[in-house]
Symmetry: C2
Subunit: 263 residues, 2 copies
């Protein structure tokens, strides 16, 4: 801890996740000590929000912080780990799919994985976001658990294997659904209806999904095995965008395979 | 109109859509005159909620109603149309993908398409649901528009071609996203994490999608062109469920194709 007993934190990375996390921790009375980014502009921009120092030179990182948050793309983690001096504080990464073992050269290390999608400039309440925590020893785990509890009511221990499946389910439930919405948006622009018309439908889909197994509330031509509507749709899409027709077919088959008993 | 000036309605079909629509119209002071269903139990169950008569014999349908709502699967519409006596009132179907012309043997006919997913026993506020209306003449259109306006603040004229694209976008944005959530649910059960953890993520995805083009807020390994995470996921899924690996690949390719400029 620094002299005033506030947890002090160095951020390695200055992207969407680092920005959201730093803001939440700062608001929970943590001290953001320093921001590192390969881009000095990004480092400075984020650091200035919290009166922190900044650098784009990894060996210049302050080694007196309580926590080091690595918030960078998975493929860049190993290189940063190799270049980082072993600090006194706890080093964590924030990735869903990278194993904790990548940090094993640090005495005290762990994973601090907030399970949410973060976009630039979008402020979302952190307190409902699940934070999955693991560490290489009990003391480190407790410190990470306590830190996470400052910003979220939903902190839970999770090992790397389960976390990687959770991350994969997030890719399916967020990245892929968002892309389907993007494809619908494109359709709306090109076929002349307002995308806003889909809002009640999409919000209802999201709400309803958490009242049980979403498969139980599956509707539409696929689960009705309504082959004439399905073929009509595939024909329309083949003309409009053949790649979308393939996605339509694959998802329809998958729905029918999960619901064969309803035939 | 019946003697008391309430619009009177006969429902042909007693499924989820008919149930929701009949309840909304009943609450808006319409008279539900009769319910037809091939299953007499379903007809009776729905009719009893509104003090309506019921039948499973199409020629027994009351011919004095103001409106006839055909709420049955697309493939069954033509047969019902063939068997139905030409009534004085307006005959509508409620399908997203069937052309209005299927009803051309009726003097006054139209389409009344509420754009939402309806599930048994789930009550959702009707007033925000878009209702797309079309008709074969102005007088019929006006009557349908006024009827729809009793239950929704979002009534709009829409021709069959645009409606079929809107329906297709609904299949993509609701049926397919719901199925992806069902696959995530299955993963959560089999890999030992709580599906509830996905709730903030999924609600945020749905909310964020309507703040612009959802493609602008696409996140995840596909749009980052993070091939090592993508391959890790595909390997995991190949072992877990090969069919899911194919969906993963197809959607990842589609995301990357829509976002090639971000590479």
């Amino acid at each position: 801890m620094t002299s005033d007993n506030k947890p002090s934190i160095v951020f390695i990375g200055a992207g969407n996740l680092a920005s959201s996390l730093a803001a939440a921790l700062f608001n929970a009375d943590c001290r953001i000590l320093q921001v590192f980014s390969r881009s000095i502009e990004s480092a400075q921009l984020l650091a200035n929000k919290f009166g922190a120092s900044y650098t784009n030179v990894l060996p210049n990182i302050n080694i007196d912080a309580d926590f080091y948050f690595i918030c960078i793309p998975d493929k860049a983690i190993q290189r940063v780990v190799n270049e980082l001096v072993n600090p006194k504080g706890i080093v964590v990464h924030t990735s869903g799919s990278t194993d904790i073992s990548v940090l094993s050269r640090f005495d005290n290390h762990g994973v601090f994985y907030p399970f949410q999608t973060f976009s630039k400039g979008r402020i979302i309440p952190f307190d409902v976001i699940p934070i999955c925590v693991s560490a290489n020893n009990d003391d480190t785990f407790n410190k990470l658990y306590n830190l996470a509890s400052l910003i979220s009511k939903r902190v839970l221990p999770m090992n790397s294997e389960t976390r990687s499946w959770l991350h994969l389910s997030g890719v399916i439930a967020n990245n892929f659904t968002n892309h389907l919405l993007a494809l619908s948006y494109q359709l709306s622009v090109e076929k002349g209806f307002s995308f806003e018309l889909l809002k009640p439908l999409v919000l209802e889909t999201a709400q309803k999904a958490f009242e049980g197994n979403p498969s139980d509330s599956q509707t539409g031509p696929a689960v009705r095995f309504d082959e004439s509507t399905i073929n009509l749709h595939i024909d329309k899409l083949k003309e409009y965008a053949p790649e979308l027709a393939d996605i339509y077919k694959a998802l329809t088959l998958s729905i029918q395979s999960l619901n064969k008993n309803k035939r």
